[in-house]
Amino acid sequence: MALALLLLVLVLSGILALSQPQLSQGTDVWLRLLGLTTLYALYYFLISAMAVQLAAAIRQPALSLLSLLSIWVLSTVILPKVVAASAEQQKPLLGVMQFNEQMHEEREKGLNGHDPEDARSKRFERKILAKYSVDDPSKLPINYDGLLMQEDEYYGNAVWDKHFGLLNRDLRQQAQYTAWSSFINPFQALRNLSLSLANADLYQHLHFQKAAEMYRRTLIRTLNEKMAYGGSKTGDWDWTVPEAWFSELEDFNYEAPAMAWSLQQRTLELVAIAAWALLLILLLWMPWWKAERLL
């Protein structure tokens, strides 16, 4: 049965891979498919071994079947809910309003709460004026507005890094909490590893989020610097750049991390599923277990 299921997974994976042109490129996709197949083979082995153990321990077929079904319901429906809810209780996340307000406040009043936006702008203005040895932004050979916007951008980025850093840390801790539950629930390990191998888990999302944010920062910096040093003067808000310049800007090209990276994030789950396999193999060879008991 386990082999039949595995075959089914292989066939489905193959169909999927062949039907998606982008999947047929690159070895990483095939490695991931191989990883998924191996993972499911291991999982079906665990299920089969567990079924055999239970059949040996409980002589009544109906009761052993019911026990297996109960384990299935417990591990796939009940435990994941309980664990996710406990993770939420252990590490509650801020409400979006509180989160936004904290960011807004720090942007206005400064990261330390004692450095208001106005004072920061004045300080920056003095610094730039001193650098160019002039006494007014209008006398600058460059566009001060562009520099100021970029300075504000740097500050906003620092605030973003702090708050999203904390949020992402909490999300990671919640994910770690569920990862530990793989030691009591192999299904959790399978699910997390599947998500990881399919490039669809939290870590992958955070990786993408970071890449997108980095691209955004580079783009905004390029735009601000163009405004500052591209030939316009302070206060010249109608100044434009030729369309060709925009077409030279690089598009966002996201490169998903390789399988090794994905698996590194899921070490706990890998250890857990291996431990489960080892435990069940050991149980199968325990002296008290005799094949005759099944007969």
């Binding site: 077929p61 109906a62 079947l65 109960s70 994941p80 993770a87 939420e88 209780q89 409400g95 979006v96």
Partner: protein, 469 residues
Amino acid sequence: MITTILQYELKQLLRKRVGWALLLFILLGGGYAIAYGWLNYQHYRTQIGEVQQKQAETYAELAPKYDTLTQLGDQAPERLNSFGDPIMADFRYRRYSTWLPGSLSALAVGQRDQQTPYQRIQLYRNVNLPELEEINNPEQLLAGNFDLSFVLVYLLPLLVIVLGFNALSQDREEGILSLLKVQGLTPKQLLFTRVGLQFGLLWGLSLLICSIGFGVVGADWAHWPAWGLGCGAWLLLWAGLVAWVNTWGRSSAFNATVLAGFWIVLLILLPALTNFWVDRTYPVLPRSEFMATARDISSQEWDRPMAAILADFQKTQPDLYAKIPQPIRDTQAIKVFMYNENSIAKVEQLGAPLMRTGSQRLDLENRLKYLNPAYAFNAILTTSAGTELSNFIDWQNATKETLKQNRELVTQIGLSGKTFKKAEFERLPTFKAPPLKAQVGGNLLCLGVLAGLLWLLVWWSAQRNAAQV
């Protein structure tokens, strides 16, 4: 005879360790679900509370300023000038529409964790573009909630199966059935009495858990009959399935497998297929695509030449244009007004299918409930708790109406060249929640009809298979 069977079966049930284990399981599960729901609801209420507090705070902060503006008129200090600007008044007075179902939603979370719980009431806001998406634990969203409705919808049927899968087959397998037949007892009597007893016990248990839940979360007891009857009809349906499978005269293992299959089909496969069907029938624009298109619409609207905007305004709003005092005519104020009107109208047009899809999906799901009784039972629980999709749609429509009233007031005052004083400030609309719809009659009827039909099938099957039974 039936009384004797009942007394005997009750004794047997009480002696079974499995029975006690199950009782413990359901009590623990129910207790955990109630506690989970209660904590979850408290967290939700806190979030809504923060928003409402923010609204009250800004009102308390602003009201005296508008009092001053009204009392002093042109003599008011210069620092208060910007408070008279309608757009700034609208911006400063933070008002929210909040979706706060009653405390019964602690027992049936429904759509509450999936939808945006509040939206700001402000000039440029669009109901389709909520900017305050709650931060959620993705693991939690993936796994779902362990609330009492989950226990009742998913776990109760498992108990019916575990208690009744071998209602008749075990006696046959142990050779007792023939002995019982000799004593003048028909297998049909035995089966119906056993299943009936198990149904009665489980219904009693579910009523007890529901009552504890209602008591703990302080829910409105007016909804208790709907929950009680819903549990009864749902259990009757599952007891019918158990009895039906038992009438086939097969082994206990076979019965268990078939009943587990029913559980998977009715609670996992059918809902998934229904969702798939609804998704395919009424597809929605992905959120990111929707946002990007809406943003493009807004930018294009803003970038239109001033002359075209003014011509448009005169054409579409002749009455309003006539009322606008000369200094405001042909100014940025009109551009802002038209930008808002046009972009909101266009984004609403873009979002209309999204809004409509919600109702269409609901209609389709309502029609499919005869195929999927789990949906009907779940709808009874969530509708009475105010967390059903229809409740959310009502809230969204009420929000849309408030946003419209707000837009009308702010633009009307702004374009007439007036400023905000206390009277205008007080007229800024605040959200009033629509009444919760809690009609569950249709779904109860659906469950009752399905259970009744199933029991007719059981009766017919028992007659037909009398020899095997």
